[in-house]
Symmetry: C2
Subunit: 267 residues, 2 copies
């Protein structure tokens, strides 16, 4: 099942879209937040007739597993370069899973965005075949890892063997299965697909619930995997941020992400 | 007029709040986005009965000047530690100015947040009296600078004399006038109060419209001004991000912010 199939939605009545969360996209039973954001944004793109997300913000309310969902889109503004809508996703029993705001528009072809300031560069990663594919398990790594290709920088994988690196950094390649191309929508998934960077600190390896996630999409990615780096600098008062950069295979920045998450708790 | 007065709202019907944007809070005629976010969040706090913002995201639709506004709050979730609501602000003619999502709760007293990871420190700033107060003018600096106290690091002020530093960084103290205490709500204003960091590059000194702004509040600030640093690393495809850190006078991180803005255009 491709990402496009897994996040498919169809309009049932004006501004209302139906979809189904398939099994296997979860972390400890909670569907991945990036998957949910991708599905919600797909409904917004369908509703607004725009091809690309520009900024999408979601606040996550209730964690849930697979099953039918409904996305309601409320158009807020529609202008030449951008449209904005709010959207909410509910389970069939009416439970509100998340609420989002999305500003959408149209990006140019890969590599065409004018770069005026670039204070940064793609993470230095070994080629994908020298990186470490995170394998799905029933717990951690979660089943979700079987739905996407996350190939970690070897230096950031020691947490998988009980020896965190001590730096809250997680770098690696992200790809879709079966060579499915990475669209701007798929960047929303990439932004929440990696093991939390804090797994490389002394924090517990456990579900790290997202409170809020915003992704800025800066351009369409060139063909190939995207190079990602996620960092958490401040874990305070029970909260942490995770900042992501996503670069395409040609070395162009295609997305920035930031989430607020709860500190993982040992079970 | 204090910030509390300038952003006051009162309930008119359940979940609907009325306020007034006073004159002088604008940049080139467009009311400051941080001011609007503070007003909207104040309505959400009133509606949910919670004292502190935790994560507030807004997408900005239409720029407007002073006048009466209405904030409609829709409660989405209400649990022990956090509540979430959506909120929208309209002008009296019905024009939607912005839409927001806010997760709110309660922070402890200043300095009580448990710090598990802290990879960063407050910006090194001279004492406030050795910093440069940005004076309001009719254009740039904007009238808004007369409503708040922004005291820039001298090294970051050369853009005011036509010689940008070359680094997209803006550091300084933020305070309210007449010693009004800085609440967690006021941190939302601080997050959008500084001259854009890109003014220290070769980009034009002009209105830099905010598309989306999210502020994470990590704790209540200790008494005194807050130390702020804003950076823009990527100006690509007509967009830029501005990332902020806000630290209280005791050296505790109290907020992180990120906005997506349009590249300023020479008029």
């Amino acid at each position: 099942m491709t990402l496009a199939e897994a996040t498919a939605v169809h309009m049932t009545t004006p501004h209302r879209y139906a979809g189904t969360v398939p099994p296997g996209w979860d972390i400890a039973g909670a569907t991945n937040g990036g998957y949910l954001l991708t599905t919600v944004a797909r409904a917004v793109l369908a509703d607004t007739g725009r091809p690309d997300p520009i900024a999408v913000s979601a606040h996550y309310l209730v964690a849930a597993g697979p099953g039918p969902v409904t996305v309601d889109v409320q158009p807020l503004d529609d202008r030449r370069r951008r449209a904005t809508a709010s959207a909410s996703m509910r389970r069939d029993d009416g439970t509100l899973l998340l609420a989002a705001l999305a500003t959408v528009g149209e990006h140019g072809a890969p590599g065409t965005a004018e770069v005026l300031v670039e204070d940064g560069s793609p993470p230095l990663l070994p080629p994908p075949k020298e990186c470490v594919r995170v394998p799905p398990t029933e717990t951690f790594p979660p089943p979700f890892m079987g739905r996407v290709g996350v190939l970690l920088h070897p230096d950031d994988t020691s947490f998988m063997h009980g020896r965190p690196s001590g730096r809250a950094v997680m770098r690696g390649w992200f790809e879709l299965l079966d060579d499915e191309p990475i669209t701007t929508l798929a960047l929303l998934l990439a932004a929440d697909a990696f093991p939390p960077a804090v797994f490389n600190t002394t924090l517990p390896i456990a579900w790290t619930p997202t409170v809020e996630l915003t992704v800025q999409v800066r351009g369409r990615p060139a063909p190939g995997p995207v190079a990602c780096v996620f960092r958490s600098r401040f874990v305070t008062g029970g909260y942490l941020e995770a900042d992501g950069e996503i670069w395409d295979a040609d070395g162009d920045l295609v997305a920035l992400s930031r989430q607020l998450a709860l500190v993982p708790r040992a079970s």
